[in-house]
């Protein structure tokens, strides 16, 4: 849920939560002033990250925050889960790699959509993805 101060958090446990997460992200993206096309990109990235949580981790969280850096304003998505994580992150970032029943486009596709993308999977600590899109003037 949005807190009115440029931050929203959505627990992800069921596939219905994926829809809620991308609606939340779109709302914040609109508030920040992203174009409709950029809002769609952000909502798509959130959708992929949230679906990964449902499919591979079972439960986790998506947070979206307004991000200010210098004169730039952006939106940062943080996806965290308590799942098994990913042993080979490099392989997971290649198009078409999937251990599940999917196209394997979620993570590499999300990286293409966003301006900044960090992924980490410390052993035993699930998967964390932090991705930012900047609203360039």
């Amino acid at each position: 849920m949005m807190d009115g101060a440029g931050r929203g958090i959505q627990q992800i446990e069921r596939d219905g939560d994926v829809v809620l997460a991308r609606q939340m992200a779109r709302q914040l993206a609109e508030e920040i002033g992203f174009s409709r096309a950029e809002q769609a990109l952000i909502a798509t990235a959130v959708s992929e990250l949230a679906r990964n949580i449902v499919n591979y981790a079972g439960s986790g969280m998506i947070a979206v925050t307004k991000n200010l850096r210098g004169r730039n304003i952006g939106l940062t998505i943080t996806a965290t889960d308590d799942g098994p994580g990913i042993a080979d992150l490099d392989a997971a970032m290649v198009d078409g790699f999937s251990t599940g029943n999917s196209l394997g486009l979620g993570l590499p596709g999300t990286r293409r959509i966003m301006d900044e993308f960090e992924i980490s999977s410390p052993p035993g600590n699930g998967l964390t993805v932090i991705a930012t899109k900047w609203a360039f003037e």
Binding site: R14, D15, G16, V18, V19, R22, Q23, R26, R36, A37, Q39, A40, L41, A43, T44, S47, E48, R51, V54, D95, S102, L103, L105, G106, P108, G109, T110, R112, I113
Partner: protein, 118 residues
Amino acid sequence: MSVRVPILRQGETLISSIQEELSDTEILDLQSRLMEQVVRHNATGVVVDVGALDVLDSFGTRMLCDIASAVQLRGARMCIVGIQPEVAFSMVLLGVTLKDVPTALDLDRGLALLARKG
């Protein structure tokens, strides 16, 4: 609350217009009901209108492709209409395509496309 996408019939064509964002479960429900209707009415064409969707992610796209493949195996053809420009751009960046499924701008053109090739 679960969303049930309406499926209309016009002659031998089924028309399904997705009016709001669907969860995965709801897309799967649409898939099974569309197939059931194709069989029941011996439909030769299916048009799925996604004009109201502002996100089509990799799962949604794959489901649409799966539905189209199943419809095709029944001897019918499916066309997807109304993909919004910003949705199309997101899909390209994401890396998903609908290259095996015909698309058209709107319902009229989708119906014309199915009629022409039928």
